[in-house]
Amino acid sequence: MAVRTPEASPGPEAAERGPGPVKVRLGVNGRERGIDIEPRVSLLEVLRAELDLTGAKRGCDQGTCGACTVWVDGRRVLACLTLAITCEGREVTTIEGLARPDGTGDGQLHPMQEEFIAQDAFQCGYCTPGQIMSAVGCVQEGHATDDAEIKEWMSGNICRCAAYPHIRAAIRAARDRV
């Protein structure tokens, strides 16, 4: 479903918001969500604390690990360095909404999720939602043609358990299923 852009767009002076909580509408996993947040709050914190979508993980909060990877308007980005308020009018997709756009996903997995399980592409699982959101993005961008390319284009997601060879195997398998 379409998410409307913020209605207020007169001169910037008129539209100054914050620093206290302000009403923000976010389209997340196909649903429009209204929240009251301070402008300084990151998309990651909003997803986890306000919307109880804890699939996106806080690993560093400074753009160095990739555990918070989500999609904004279909592109993989880091939720920790994205202010939530800047996402008004954009479509946010998290791991919870990957299998089905409505975020329910009951029982159904995205092929990438299935292959991550089949290839044992994770151990502790903490970086996994970020890996999967990044992996699907990597395939969609056309950067998964061979292992060398997957290696480079998946290097923004650190897996400290070092499941990397299996992550590549899962991406190859999911890529070949599509």
Partner: protein, 754 residues
């Protein structure tokens, strides 16, 4: 691919997909900082900015004025802990503080990053911002933070490691043997400090209901958290429930119990609301220990045929002001080869750091680098193939104790690893590929088999619907223990795995020690197997005694169970299922408990998990680049409970070895005593592009001694020796011996000193 039940085959060992896989790939898995709670508050810590001194003043007024701030706790108002429990390894199964010091009890600062204040606020952003506004003034004193600061202050401890390991060990007369040796190899090695950096930062969520405390903690052992927090707070451990369903990696960072769960509990008491306390990434460098900066001095003596006659291994490292801690780097080194004369000694320097701690492959990760690069040098000096040199020194029995090995398999590991990497390709001069020179190297691998000091317990229950649940208070930090235990339970209960569920991660469940030191699978499988076997026996006994059962009167020893159906061995058509038995007797379920261990201290065998590591590296000698192209390892870990998860653990360990060899170093800022690169941007761990294909092979050995299922563990041995194999491959490619970790660009670009 592997979940369909094959009733005739054993569930143990099968490459079953992880039972928690779905939760992890959908984001449904809840880690400690993700438990939803009403009225939750958020806490952020403030760390000391000096390494030694006193706090002269704390001004929290600006922080307290910020919107949403509920409390600023410092040593002036947080209250005293009840007492400091002793430092015991968490494998002991009782208290396990990371250091025998608790912060915020006085104005004294012992190390930079020491927690000096805790800000509690309505939201995370509010707490984080206010934490920056707590003004702490210090009277700074001179500090010691690197070995070079205080070599003259080194001392030889009686014992390290909570007194479990003597500070010095010897056999024979090493000095004389070295004097008489045909060849000696004598080198000093330096190893940077390392930090675990699991991607999940340590966190705890705490709340009180009256005098009862519930803690969700990121930990390798819920019982260790429970007992440690209880001792610090001075309340019975029975009033504390600790839950940890998912732990986002640990590698030792969460093996001991550090300060945050207790601080979260204190904060929750202060604000009368649930508190969530998560460390920032920077605080992960001063909140849960590290592998200490260290130097090794290792001397080998050998005869002309390459047989070792003497081995001397001294280690110098930094410990904290509180504890005699050194990772046990001298352990396996003294046991690896048949060498009659040995001397090992630890030397410590008290420094202004927190107490170092276990980090994956503790001790052996550094010790085996010293030994196995020295062995490579010895092979070179004698003109021997490195594999051949090791075969000549194969230890038929444990050289330290003289006892036979519980199982071995090392020679086969050498053969299989060599085959996997293509060791026969190792040529002089090394092969070239454009700007790259290709080197091959190898090293032996081994890791001790540890057992708990307390019994491991489990509970098994079969329901009248024919499903089973088996429980033990074990946490799955990514090892796959939940999956493996499901398989063990299914095997012992003779049920398909889909009808078994394993539950862990909760102190309300039967007690097991923390899963550390590669011991989890061995000790928990023993308890699970005991409980499930006992339950199966009980159900069979009930059936043969039950007049309503087709098995009535049968000899229980001749009843077999398959797929949850008990039947006469001689007449398989005669029988009934667990479910039928329970339903007929109006029983909702049936339950049994089981326990194992601890094994006696003086067993008549010695136990190590053996393996062999091989590495192929490409070195660009001009630009100083080293890229590992392939790793191959062969291991003999005894019984493998799940081939898939065990392979993953070994693979991960091997990449950890790569990481230690080439990337990981925490640099101390000598002027301030602070870690200078406390972020994942600057503390380098491998990314996908660094990780080569990894070949893992299992060597079967008959292991009947270390625990009932013969499980020796795979958590650490994958890492042991890898870094040495890589360094040896670099030497093969370049002729350079770099006796440090990590080996970085400047080591290869700068000309070797004459």
């Amino acid at each position: 691919m592997s979940t369909s039940a094959e009733p005739s085959t054993s569930p143990i060992g099968r490459p079953l997909d992880r039972v928690d896989g779905r939760a992890k790939v959908t984001g449904a898995a809840r880690y400690a900082a993700e438990v939803p709670l009403p009225d939750l508050t958020h806490a952020v810590l403030v760390g000391a900015r000096v390494a030694c001194g006193r706090i002269t003043s704390i001004d929290a007024s600006e922080a307290e004025r910020q919107t949403g701030v509920l409390a600023v706790l410092t040593h002036e108002n947080i209250g005293k802990i009840a007492g400091q429990p002793p430092l015991l390894p968490s494998l002991a199964g009782t208290v396990a503080p990371g250091e025998t010091f608790f912060p915020m009890q006085s104005d004294q600062i012992h190390y930079a990053g020491q927690q000096v204040a805790l800000v509690v606020a309505e939201t995370y952003e509010q707490a984080l911002h206010a934490s920056r506004l707590v003004r702490v003034e210090y009277a700074e004193q001179p500090s010691v933070t690197v070995i070079d600061d205080a070599r003259d202050q080194a001392y030889e401890p009686e014992a390290i490691f909570a007194g479990f390991i003597p500070g010095r060990a010897q056999r024979g007369d090493v000095a004389q043997a070295l004097e008489q040796a045909d060849v000696t190899v004598d080198n000093t090695f330096s190893y940077a400090a390392n930090h675990h950096n699991p991607i999940e930062p340590s966190a705890a969520t705490a709340w009180w209901e009256g005098d009862r405390l519930t803690l969700h903690d990121t930990t390798q052992g819920v019982t260790a958290t429970q007992h440690t927090v209880a001792a610090l707070l001075g309340i019975p451990h029975t009033r504390i429930r600790v839950v940890s369903h998912f732990t986002g990696g640990s590698f030792g960072a969460k093996a001991m119990i550090w300060h945050h769960p207790t601080l979260a509990a204190l904060a929750a008491r202060a604000v009368h609301r649930p508190v969530r306390l998560a460390l920032t990434r920077e605080q992960m460098f001063t909140g849960c220990g590290h592998r200490e900066e260290q130097e090794h001095h290792l001397t080998l003596g050998a005869d002309q045929r390459g047989r070792l006659t003497a081995l001397r291994h001294h280690k110098l490292s930094l410990t904290s002001p509180f504890d005699h801690w050194a990772e046990p780097s001298l352990g396996v080194v003294g046991q690896m080869y048949a060498c009659p004369h040995y001397e090992g000694a630890y030397h410590l320097i008290r420094a202004n750091t927190m107490t170092p701690t276990f980090m994956r492959c503790p001790g052996e990760a550094t010790g085996l680098f010293s030994l196995e690069t020295s062995m490579d040098e010895l092979a070179e000096r004698l003109g021997l193939d490195p594999v051949e040199l090791r075969l000549r020194n194969f230890a038929e029995t444990d050289p330290a104790s003289g006892k036979p090995w519980s199982s071995n398999g090392l020679e086969e590991c050498y053969r299989r690893g060599a085959e996997r990497i293509g060791w026969h390709r190792r040529a002089e001069p090394p092969a070239r590929d454009g700007d790259w020179v290709i080197g091959l190297g190898m090293a032996a691998s081994a890791y001790p088999v540890y057992g708990p000091n307390n019994p491991a317990r489990a509970r098994a229950r079969v329901y009248a619907d024919g499903t089973a649940v088996v429980q033990a208070a074990v946490t799955d930090i990514g090892t796959g223990v939940l999956t493996a235990m499901t398989q063990v339970a299914a095997e012992a209960l003779c049920l398909p795995v889909e009808r078994c569920r394993f539950e862990g991660g909760d102190t309300d469940l039967p007690h097991v020690a923390a899963t550390v030191g590669s011991s989890g699978a061995g000790m928990v499988s023993a308890a699970v197997y005991a409980a499930a076997t006992e339950l199966r026996a009980q159900l069979v006994a009930r059936a043969v005694a039950d007049e309503g059962s087709p098995l009535h009167g049968a000899d229980p020893d001749h009843v077999v169970v398959r797929d949850g159906r008990m039947m006469r061995g001689d007449a398989p058509d005669t029988g009934e299922s667990y479910a039928e038995l329970l339903r007929r007797n109006f029983l909702p379920d049936s339950e049994a408990t089981g326990s194992w261990g601890p094994p006696p201290h003086d067993v008549p065998y010695a136990a190590l998990t053996f393996g062999a590591q091989f590495a192929e590296v490409a070195v660009d000698p001009e630009l100083g680049l080293v890229r590992v192209r392939r790793l191959a390892g062969a291991f003999a870990p005894g019984r493998v409970l799940n081939a898939k998860t065990a392979r993953s653990q070994l693979m991960g360990g091997m990449i950890w070895g790569l990481s230690q060899a080439l990337l990981e170093a925490t640099h101390m800022e000598p002027n301030t005593g602070r870690w200078a690169n406390a972020s994942l941007g600057e503390y380098l761990v491998p990314v996908n592009a660094d990780a080569p294909e990894v070949d893992v092979d299992f060597v079967d050995v008959e292991e009947n001694l270390v625990n009932p299922l013969g499980v020796k563990g795979v958590g650490e041995v994958g890492q042991a020796g890898v870094a040495a194999a890589i360094a040896n491959a670099i030497h093969h490619a370049t002729g350079r011996r770099i006796r440090k970790m990590p080996i970085t660009i400047e080591d290869l670009v700068v000309a070797p000193e004459a």
